[in-house]
């Protein structure tokens, strides 16, 4: 675990990703100090282009786009991380239990996982959301968390299968440690990079899917979030009337958040699988070898 953190610090992709993420989190937390406008208040004339007064212009209802963007970041981040944590916890627990316990438990969990994997996720979520009606961001986070754990469970299970064969697990069993203790303290720490990748991947998925559901009109239209901004911009035909700032601001924000998270994910992948790494250290080493000075 500490090793992972140390290696992340030396990975340029991880640093850039983290920087982007911190920037967005910072803006979300500091929203009241960054703007004088309330996100839902009518503060100007409709569809004003960006100006010194309204940095990113106004919406058709005369709301300040920048204020909506940074307050909306709170919702998008909270849903993303909330649902992401839920997906990861469910996937990890089910994966470890299935992979370590084997037998009937494994059969059941594995079967359920495979079923959930072949039912297309977005249509299923759309059907759920359609019956719920105008789902608030929290309801969306909840249904995302409950329906999207299958991928993580499958990856964690296959990794658990190989870890469970290692000597330290066998000796813990020999010592008579209870199963939950072996799963939590012997197996779990060895899956930490998989869990990390799963977590960040799930956060990306949750952010994207929340925005998509809201864009498609299944969210609560009064909520302040990036998906609702897209929905309102699309519904007020922002593109046709030339109010590009209304539509492109949440687009850029979503792209930036996705990029930051993806960079982090890629970095963890590289650290846990050193063959993938092509960073400066390996290059330096190959250069040294070529120059005949390489020392192992």
């Amino acid at each position: 675990m500490r090793d992972l953190v140390r290696q992340l610090r030396h990975n340029r992709k991880a640093l850039i990703g983290l920087l982007i993420l911190l920037l967005i989190i910072g803006a979300a937390l500091a929203a009241p100090w960054l703007t004088q406008y309330a996100p839902t208040a009518r503060v100007g004339r409709p569809h004003q282009p960006p100006s010194a007064e309204h940095w990113l212009g106004t919406t058709r209802l005369g709301q300040d786009v920048f204020a909506r963007l940074i307050y909306g970041a709170r919702t998008s981040l909270a849903v993303g991380f909330g649902a992401g944590v839920m997906i990861t916890v469910l996937g990890t627990v089910l994966g470890i239990v299935a992979g370590y316990r084997r037998g009937l438990v494994d059969e059941i969990i594995n079967f359920a996982t495979n079923i959930v994997l072949v039912v297309p996720n977005l249509p299923l979520l759309l059907v759920l959301a359609a019956f719920i009606g105008q789902a608030s961001p929290w309801v969306i986070a909840l249904i995302l968390g409950l329906t999207s754990w299958a991928w993580g469970a499958r990856v964690t299970r296959s990794e658990t299968l190989s870890v469970a064969q290692k000597d330290f697990v066998k000796s813990a069993e020999m010592l008579g440690e209870p199963a939950w203790r072996i799963m939590a303290l012997e197996i779990f720490p060895n899956l930490i990079s998989i869990v990390g990748i799963n977590l960040i991947g799930s956060v990306i998925f949750a952010v994207i899917t929340e925005a998509t559901l809201e864009f498609l009109g299944l969210g609560d239209p009064n909520a302040v979030s990036w998906g609702i901004m897209l929905y309102n911009a699309q519904n007020s035909s922002a593109l046709t009337v030339g109010a590009w700032w209304d539509l492109l601001s949440p687009c850029v924000a979503l792209a930036l958040l996705g990029l930051g998270l993806a960079l982090l994910n890629f970095a963890i992948d590289e650290i846990s699988n050193p063959r993938l790494r092509t960073g400066s250290r390996i290059q330096r080493w190959t250069r040294l070898v070529r120059a005949g000075e390489g020392r192992l």
């Binding site: 079923i115 994997l117 059907v127 998509t212 498609l216």
Partner: protein
């Protein structure tokens, strides 16, 4: 053969699972399920039609399990009810009309992005650490983590509205009559290009990253070293030794990616106002046309299962080890 039969049985169970969601959802929601399902019908439906709809969805005077069986029976006999918005059109007919457009869009986009993405990923792994690798990896990561909504909206803004290179809606010029003529087909291609390219952008990153990582893991194998030691040309080692084997796991990831493809096309179609399944879904949601919404889940699950089956079948052909099993 055993392998395929096992898969087939599994797909039937998966399809029933999707139908089960459809059956129980209106019944676990607070309130009267019949009211929920057909609330938007208003006075459009006559008593007779409403009763036929109720029967299709298993709302009969009987215990729950009998209702459930009745619903499964309707589903498996291809009766998905009638649309409430487009009354009296049957849901299956609406879906079949839209399916043609989606299959064309999704099929061509998957083909292009899989081929191009795998090629880029293989080349990036081959020149690992080079500028080419960095650019390909970065762009792949970026495009696979940006929502399809965002990519579609930006593409429409830049190429549809600002540059005016492509039309911003419909599958063909609405003034033309559908016919097997060069003019009509040209119009279909012209209207489909931007949504197709958008979908390719959404998908290509995932394929490129998977292929690159598979390749890098394979490049350390002994048989690659051997191929090089024999003095084979670089391109022969790359395509006939490394890429060929790296493609196998990528191909199986394609089966799961099809879910993403369908999800992506759903959004892209809405943004570009393309008359496929996605747009039909969107219109149904706006009108709370539940028979169509539920039919969508079934047909999209069906599409996913059929494409998984195709991948399974070709997997048997590609991986000789499976033929024995």
């Amino acid at each position: 053969m055993r392998f395929l039969l096992g898969r087939l049985a599994f797909y039937v169970v998966a399809f029933v699972a999707a139908a089960t969601v459809n059956f129980f959802l209106p019944r676990i929601m607070p309130g009267d399920p019949i009211q929920i399902m057909f609330a938007s019908a208003g006075s459009q439906l006559s008593m007779e039609n409403l009763n036929a709809l109720k029967l299709t969805f298993g709302f009969i005077d009987a215990p729950m399990w009998e209702q459930y069986l009745k619903y499964l029976q309707s589903v498996f006999t291809g009766d998905l009810g009638v649309s409430i918005k487009y009354f009296p059109l049957p849901v299956t007919e609406l879906l079949a009309r839209a399916l043609v457009w989606t299959v064309g869009l999704v099929g061509s986009a998957t083909l292009v992005s899989f081929t191009l993405g795998s090629l880029l990923g293989a080349l990036a792994a081959w020149r690992r650490g080079s500028l080419f690798d960095t650019v390909v990896s970065m762009l792949s990561i970026f495009f696979s983590s940006v929502p399809a909504v965002v990519i579609s909206l930006v593409a429409l803004f830049v190429f549809g509205h600002s540059l005016n290179w492509f039309p911003g809606g419909y599958s063909a010029d609405p003034l033309l009559d559908p016919a097997f003529s060069a003019e009509y087909i040209g119009s279909v291609v012209y209207h489909g290009t931007l949504p197709m390219l958008t979908l390719v952008t959404v998908l290509i990153g995932g394929f490129a990253v998977t292929m690159r990582n598979n390749m890098i893991n394979l490049l350390g194998e002994d048989y690659i070293v051997m191929a090089r030691a024999k003095g084979l040309s670089e391109s022969r080692v790359l395509f006939w030794y490394a890429a060929r084997n790296a493609l196998l796991p990528t191909f199986s990831s394609l089966a799961i990616a099809i879910g993403t493809v369908l999800g992506g096309s759903l959004v892209t179609e809405v943004v570009f106002n393309y008359p496929g399944l996605g747009n039909l879904f969107y219109q149904a949601i706006l009108a709370r046309d539940y028979p169509v919404i539920q039919g969508q889940l079934l047909i999209m699950t069906g599409a996913m299962l059929v494409s998984n089956l195709i991948v399974d079948l070709s997997y048997v052909l590609l991986d000789p080890r499976l033929k024995k099993a």
